[in-house]
Symmetry: C2
Subunit: 399 residues, 2 copies
């Protein structure tokens, strides 16, 4: 008999993974994954980057790098973030092995077993797992179409016995909800948290994937608003703008938090892959990301619109969703009492798969919602798959 640690004894495989094995059939239409489409990766750009690498750069790519990141990438990424208005000169940048690692490290930095932390409901499953692995007491705040419910947040802050260790949220194109926080919600949040000594973790993995230039105002990150009296730990990722297979993300955080996080990072994997850091650096430095982002924004927008249109036309009454303005996801609210796991099972039988709502409930309970990803399927596949999803919903609702 092996004696595992307390934190790990409680970790469980999620429903999504168990069901995915059922869904692993050929020709299955996948509205499940939060990954970019293979066909949209910038293969030519990466080839060109590799071809131009010098022998010296290849040596650097094969060697250990400094824990904070390759200096070259820290430099080019600083430029990229500065262009987004982020305070790179008064904060410190740490390259991480995907932005999930950034979130995990922040969890480790703040959470003692039993500590309360605040998240949105629904919430990114990776963050839930990371925080749970440090035995956090997770308290969740509902998400509205304009962002986190600030009234509910205010009430929770007033009633909690011990101050929460942090608040984790994804204001831009939320996973799974697709929500883009309204600018007013962001301002109200800052006001609510000011001088409360509760750091904010702002997960910004999706903000480059906006479909409408006029949304830029709402896309401004909390971190770039640079509010006084509030520590913001900003995390981002190369997964959605270059490729998740690089496993590269980052955190931009105040100096004191940075110093702890760098030590944790050092004890986890010493440094992120130099090989992929070199490629990401060249991708930024060469400017190749600019036309590439325009290309994928247009394509994801096309897919989102196709899916939105079909859902608007076909979803039965009582099912609601907000048309996405960016990101990867559509989040459908089912009529009261509906169970998305039952719908998912029917859908898998019909050859289409998505993710059930309770996967994203920090408490693993609420299941009357559905996440559809439009990122990973062509418009043709969307046209083929959405009627099957709708059919599964109708059958389950006995309509």
């Amino acid at each position: 008999m092996v004696h595992f640690s307390t934190s790990v004894a409680s970790l469980r495989s999620s429903e999504i993974r168990d069901l995915m094995s059922l869904a692993n059939k050929p020709n299955m239409i996948l509205f499940s994954g939060g990954m970019p489409d293979n066909d949209l990766f910038p293969l030519q750009e990466v080839d060109a980057i590799y071809r131009r690498l010098t022998a010296r750069e290849k040596q650097i790519a094969l060697q250990y790098g400094p824990t904070p990141g390759l200096p070259q990438l820290l430099d080019s990424l600083s430029g990229f973030l500065r262009d987004k208005g982020l305070p790179v000169d008064t904060n410190k940048l740490l390259i991480t092995t995907g932005s999930l690692q950034a979130i995990n490290i922040l969890g480790h930095a703040f959470i003692d077993p039993g500590d309360t932390i605040l998240v949105e409901n629904p919430c990114f499953i990776g963050a839930i797992s990371a925080f749970r692995s440090y035995q956090a007491n997770i308290v969740s705040i509902p998400l509205t179409p304009a962002g986190i419910d600030t009234e509910a947040l205010g009430r929770t802050l007033d009633t909690l016995e011990a101050a929460p260790k942090f608040l984790y949220l994804t204001p831009n194109f939320h996973n799974p909800a697709g929500t883009l926080y309204h600018r007013d919600t962001k301002l109200r949040l800052i006001e609510l948290l000011r001088d409360r000594n509760i750091p904010l973790i702002e997960d910004d993995a999706y903000s480059e994937l906006y479909f409408h230039d006029e949304d830029r105002e709402h896309l401004q990150t909390l971190k770039s608003m640079n509010p006084e009296g509030l520590d913001i730990c900003y995390t981002g990722s190369f997964s959605k703008i270059l490729g998740p297979g690089l496993r590269l993300g980052w955190m931009l955080v105040p100096d004191e938090i940075y110093r702890k996080c760098e030590l944790i990072k050092q004890s986890i994997d010493a440094c992120s892959p130099s090989f992929t850091q070199m490629i990401a650096h060249k991708f930024l430095e060469s400017g190749a990301y600019l036309p590439y982002l325009n290309r994928i924004r247009a394509e994801y927008k096309r897919r989102a619109e196709a899916m939105t249109q079909l859902l608007n036309a076909q979803l039965p009454e009582g099912c609601t969703f907000t048309a996405p303005r960016g990101g990867f996801y559509i989040w459908i609210q089912l009529p009261g009492g509906a169970d998305s796991t039952n719908i998912l099972k029917r859908a898998i039988d019909k050859g289409v798969v998505f993710v059930s709502g309770k996967t994203f409930d920090p408490h693993g309970m609420r299941n009357d919602r559905i996440r559809l990803s439009f990122c990973n399927s062509s418009v043709e596949k969307i046209n083929e798959g959405i009627p099957l999803v709708v059919e599964s919903i109708r059958e389950e609702l006995m309509l």
Copy 2:
């Protein structure tokens, strides 16, 4: 004021990092790093691998992979490990982001704050940091030239109040001590641990870097001896046989432990970089590693012999070391009372750097030893640098 978690509050930067910044001068001779020499990386092999990748393989390289690892790599790595006699069919393989991550995940799987674990003294600094980050109570057992002191281990096991959560060790070409465990020590260890319900973490990052074919008998891993009544968690790495910049390692563990570790891995970084996994897979599959390993074994042997010869000729009386039979390191025992940090400071002034002994003492105390790496310097640099190290020792000992 930010409230960090208890585990993180106690993490400290190591002396080695503080001093390294002093040592960051041009032309410094580096006997400090445990990294391969840039000039020995298989650049041509990696170029050939990249050139031959299909578009489909490049897409896989840029995409998320399964948490356990790319199936292709799991397959080729299984073959590689099977050839080393490892029980890949009765255990499970998990690809990790460097073998440090494998060690960290095992730490997370077993350690609750205050739990006792056993390590060798001296011990790999990365493992110390990882275990400390989970607030382990670290108890250390001395290392002898034939391996861990099994008598001391037996006494410790008999006297500890609570059973330790695991024993961590590096039997083949230890970091920092260079030690290759004698086969008898390995057999005695198995006997000692049998049916005690204390898992063994066997860190095998260096076993491919042997200098003498006749050592193969002693190199057999504990894991491949497949002892009954003992759970062995075997960890390995691509860092020393291809390049640390890939950030790829693995663990081969019993099924029950695997299941927990996979969940932890999922919460840390979801998966290891597909990009570098694809390259590592092709490196193994093509057989390119075989001539490459022969090439670097010969070169590291040449360097080890050069350093050994000089030290034998020049070290003052009272300084002892065991000539390395593989790996990267020479570990010098100084006469009683000598302080290696003082020697290091003198050495840095002279233009050469190594790592002080206390860096590898799990208790951060014992400082009468020195680690010299021969992996990262040419024979010319070794000829230039060793006299400066010896001079620094002589000065400090006032000889």
